[in-house]
Amino acid sequence: MRMTLAVAVLLALLPLGLPPYAMTLLTEALIMGLFAMSLDLMVGYARLISFGHAAAYGLGAYTCGNILLHTDIPLPLAVPMAGVFSGFIGIGIAWVCTQATGVSFSMLTLALAQLLYAVAFKWTSVTGASDGLAGIPRRPGPFGTTYFSTKIGFYYLTMACLFGSFLFARALVRSPFGAVLRGIRENEAKTLSLGYNTRLYKIAVVAASYILGGLAGALYAPFAGFANTELLFWLLSGQVLIMVIVGGTGTLVGPILGAAFFLLVQQQLSTYTDSWALFFGVIFIAFVLFAPEGILGLARRRRSVRSH
């Protein structure tokens, strides 16, 4: 708890000393961190490996984009609305995908996300097809305030979403519900035989994951000012899974660090070479081979070595 508070204070003070371009990068890192953390709920706590988590992000982004473009609903309200909508769709997606387990589950998540991608390409009136939605505004309000439309105000909104989501997710995994999820992760057949309707628990955690992932996408649309089909593409699903694994699964905090690390490496390497993804691939392989517990696990290991 003290650690959480210290990080919150640090992040809250950062805008005072950072140049604008760094603020942009930091805001994006927080959005991506929220997205990766949402996937960790599924991957790290229930061993539900999704290859289609971009669906949550894209749903959030398109929903928020449409709300902001076509209504007067203020930005701080549009974002959670889009998250909740994404969660609703997540229930349907989970209902289909949990018909299967293991690799088949993963393939179904990929298939449904690609289905949404294809729909986004054709449904011009809602998604703008290949042009996407452009000029998404940051509507002022509530009560007429324009604070959240500013760079710093938007940063604080993002930070609030990330911390709120983190506290929610942490309470979730520590609750009786979370204990059942860990049971499913370690031995689903046993959990079922103890009298838990494991499929309902899985659908519930996917819905929670989609709400938070949708929240991240909903922040991205007004952050970038646009939403396009790339936000639903499998490439993003793969990237966020890599962020979770590199950061450390089943830790919530790890994936946030993983997302920041991914963006930093991408930003640094892409100034030198277009093939930055190739180098990140090597980093990813190194993590899987030598530090499967991720960045957070590495940090904890070092700390425990030093204290001995």
Partner: protein, 249 residues
């Protein structure tokens, strides 16, 4: 009234009849063993009772309620707890967390997504009591996957007991144990059953174990019941000796 009743239960796989018109019952307070040679249909019968597979014909009645079409997890909610032939645990959790999660399944608020301190406290209390009954308190904080094979088997029984079951179903409780471990397990289980209050249906092929633990026996042969009664009667039955015991006396 019987706690569990099987009425004309039949399971066919294609042309093979695994369970053939089995009618039997388990009375409250008895420890009943289902025995039979390999391929007699013991495991198939167990799967039908626990709800892993659905019967081709016949009915399963638990405490006066028809449960034939009920999914496995709902039968468990009615008070049927089971152990597996191949030990099934949560290997990365401690022994305490294993029994706690088992006990939590009996709580109305088992799904609570936030808070839940009271749920955990009550489940821990029941779980710890079950560990103590099986003499596992000294390994409570150890990771379940690192316990000895014998202790793992007992931990699984503790998980079932933590659910305060009305009917305890055990699939070959000494399967895969060494001679010494089997003797120990029979010792502990015998003490547990002697304490009374439990209704048990166990499937087992080890005769020593069955005669030490069971108060009633049902003998299966090629999917059908060929004998039913107390151990001494069953042992003396010429049909049983011919079909199965093969001179074992």
């Amino acid at each position: 009234m019987a706690l569990l009743e099987l009425q004309g239960l039949t399971k066919r796989y294609g042309g093979i009849v695994a369970v053939d018109n089995v009618t039997m019952s388990v009375e409250p307070g008895e420890v009943r063993a289902v025995i039979g040679p390999n391929g007699a249909g013991k495991t198939s019968l167990f799967h039908l009772i626990t709800g892993v597979v659905k019967p081709t014909m016949g009915e399963i009645v638990f405490d006066g309620q028809r449960v034939t079409a009920m999914p496995a997890f709902s039968r468990c909610q009615l008070g049927m707890s089971r152990t597996f032939q191949i030990t099934a645990l949560f290997p990365e959790m401690s022994a305490r967390e294993n029994t706690r999660l088992a006990a939590q399944a009996r709580d109305k608020q088992r799904w609570r997504p936030l808070g839940g301190g009271a749920v955990f406290a009550e489940a821990s209390r029941r779980g710890d009591a079950a560990l103590e009954r099986l003499g596992l308190s000294h390994v409570a904080e150890r990771q379940a996957g690192l316990l000895s094979h014998g202790d793992q088997r007992l931990l699984e029984v503790a998980m079932a007991l933590a659910q305060q079951p009305r009917l305890l179903l055990m699939d070959e409780p000494t399967q895969g144990l060494s001679v010494e471990e089997t003797a120990q397990a029979v010792e502990v289980l015998g003490g547990l059953f002697a304490g009374g209050g439990l209704t048990v249906l166990l499937v087992e092929h080890d005769m020593e174990v069955v005669f030490r633990l069971a108060s009633k026996m049902t003998v299966l042969h090629r999917g059908s019941v060929i004998a039913d009664g107390d151990p001494a009667t069953v042992k003396a039955d010429p049909v049983v000796q011919d079909a199965y015991l093969g001179g074992y006396t």
